[in-house]
């Protein structure tokens, strides 16, 4: 691209020199740009919107707690109260040890909520952004990224509440927590890939957002969140093993609940799934990038 050789001192010049448009041919045909250079260009465009990204995320969070007395504290308190209620109820019903079971449940529920909110919220992100996309030039992947980043911040805050709960219940805080950022990064990549893919698909098939929601509701029971995996009859175990969501939750369980460093294979499977999701999202984006605006 011509512009990449330009003096990069001026952010605006960079942004706008990207308006260079490659001949599109038939809109749904893949354009003559390699996948690698497409990703490079996309990331370059995004790098100019770093400030926009943080502004959007911060504003999303602010809006959630605007005008409440406790403000941001709610993002810690909300998950904390939910956890306390559920731990109490479940330990009464199932006569489980609240310390063990509470932590068990929440190492499952928190990553699950992160995935659920990113994916369902992300799937509508482009449709909802119609007003922006038709008025200013913004790369399409910006909007799913905003949703996933907002949820990631929420997730980190919820994890902190879990740590607080853990301290109250006397959970040992071990060195294994050092691997938490890596697990978070992997899940972030997966969520972004999935959200990007679904956001684009939803522009073409609006029903998809409802279908996704229903499917995820079913999947919830196929992830050992509210019950331990050993409560599952062995013949159904395969259903859990083919479920990609299981591997992400498993990762967080090992780190927080078991307090151990995950084994290489515990890292490998979710990483591969995450990268695949990301590639799939980018492939679809490359194919449809110049068509999306006409479908909104």
């Amino acid at each position: 691209m011509v512009l990449s050789q330009e003096n990069t001192s001026d952010i605006n010049a960079k942004v706008n020199s990207m308006v260079e448009i490659i001949p599109a041919g038939n809109l749904l045909e893949p354009i003559s740009e390699s996948f690698f250079s497409f990703i490079k260009r996309s990331l370059f465009e995004l790098s100019n919107l770093k400030f926009a990204l943080t502004s959007f995320v911060v504003n999303n969070l602010r809006r959630r707690y605007r005008r409440s007395v406790l403000g941001f504290a709610w993002s810690l308190l909300n998950p904390l109260t939910t956890m306390i209620i559920m731990t109490t109820v479940f330990s009464i019903i199932f006569h489980n040890n609240p310390k063990e079971f509470g932590i068990y449940i929440f190492t499952g529920i928190l990553p699950w909520t992160f995935m659920l909110d990113s994916i369902t919220g992300g799937s509508l992100s482009l449709v909802d952004a119609e007003g922006f996309l038709k008025k200013v030039y913004i790369p399409k992947l910006f909007f799913p990224l905003v949703v996933v980043s907002t949820e990631a911040v929420n997730f980190v805050l919820s994890l902190s509440s879990l740590m607080i709960l853990g301290l109250i219940l006397g959970m040992p805080i071990g060195l294994s927590l050092l691997s938490l950022p890596f697990a978070l990064a992997i899940l972030y990549v997966f969520n972004f890939g999935a959200a990007l893919f679904l956001a684009i698909s939803t522009v073409y098939f609006r029903d998809l957002t409802h279908i996704t929601r229903q499917l995820l509701q079913a999947v919830f029971y196929l992830v050992p969140i509210c019950y331990p995996l050993n409560a599952v009859p062995p013949k159904f175990l395969v259903l859990f093993k083919i479920n990609p969501f299981y591997y992400f939750i498993n990762l967080f369980r090992i780190i927080i609940y078991q307090g151990q460093f995950p084994q290489p294979k515990d890292w490998l499977v979710p990483s591969v799934i995450a990268v695949l999701a990301l590639i799939l999202g980018f492939l679809l984006l490359k194919r449809t990038e110049k068509d999306i605006i006409f479908r909104l």
Binding site: I11, N12, V19, A52, T54, K135, V136, D207, K290, I293
Partner: protein, 250 residues
């Protein structure tokens, strides 16, 4: 004038598709697979822009005239990159300030100050840049202490003043204007008109869409007449405006 600022458009076509059924629902997409005649999603295509060729260099002040729906705003949006052309090429180089719709991305729940940053971010500016412009924007908009109130409490005049002040704060190399003339009281309109004039003089390339033909003659040195997506005439402002008023309006 710097050689580095230009707009080149080569044989650009832009097609819009109109869906009778705007977004094909998944169910229908599946049903239509089994139906002998897939007639559920009828698509009509129409050419919003046909065979556009433009080579603009520093010093060009181009006015676009045409009836409603002639493709004037669409052409501006194609140059800004919102609509990619179906065929042909669009090359733009230079710092572009699009004054197409002011106040894009305003969040009514946020304060005026927060919106300055949000809007600036959407225009591709950095935090540092916005921080240095913040005070100037607030002063120009004359919002005073209202700047820290959520903009949902603003009058439409205040809203417009803020949007105008953010949009026009930086001198662009390429200025793209779509019928933006400030709203507000006489005092602000006067100030804004001067700001616009300064922007016009300081920009290297200007593209202006307006139905105010006097303004076009006054501000531009070249005018394109658009009709049904085509540039049907191109020349000096006075001649083109006469042509447009005679041949197309009547």
């Amino acid at each position: 004038m710097s050689e580095n600022v230009y707009i080149d458009v080569e044989n650009a076509w832009l097609k819009f598709r109109i869906y009778k059924n705007r977004s094909p629902a998944l169910k229908e997409a599946i049903i239509s697979k089994f139906k002998p005649k897939p007639n559920i999603t009828e698509i009509t295509e129409f050419d919003a822009l046909k065979n556009i060729n433009l080579n603009l260099r520093g010093g060009d002040r181009v006015g676009l005239v045409g009836l409603n729906g002639a493709g004037k705003s669409t052409l501006l949006k194609m140059i800004v990159g919102i609509y990619p052309p179906k065929f042909g090429k669009v090359h733009v180089r230079g710092k572009v300030t699009p004054l197409i719709e002011l106040g894009t991305g305003f969040d009514v729940e946020l304060s005026g100050r927060e919106n300055i940053f949000l809007n600036g971010a959407l225009l591709g500016r950095s935090y540092k840049q916005m921080k240095s412009l913040e005070q100037e924007i607030i002063e120009f908009s004359e919002l005073g202490e209202f700047i820290d109130l959520p903009i949902k409490y603003y009058s439409s005049g205040m809203h417009g003043r803020l949007a105008f002040s953010i949009g026009t704060i930086v001198d662009p190399e390429i200025l793209i204007v779509d019928e933006i003339f400030a709203t507000g009281d006489a005092h602000f309109v006067n100030k804004a008109t001067n700001r616009m004039k300064a922007l016009f003089t300081n920009s290297q390339i200007v593209m202006l869409v307006s139905h105010d033909t006097d303004k076009i003659i006054d501000l531009c040195n070249r005018v394109l007449v658009l009709h049904k997506g085509e540039v049907i005439n191109d020349g000096s402002p006075k001649e083109m405006v006469d042509y447009y008023l005679k041949e197309i309006v009547n």
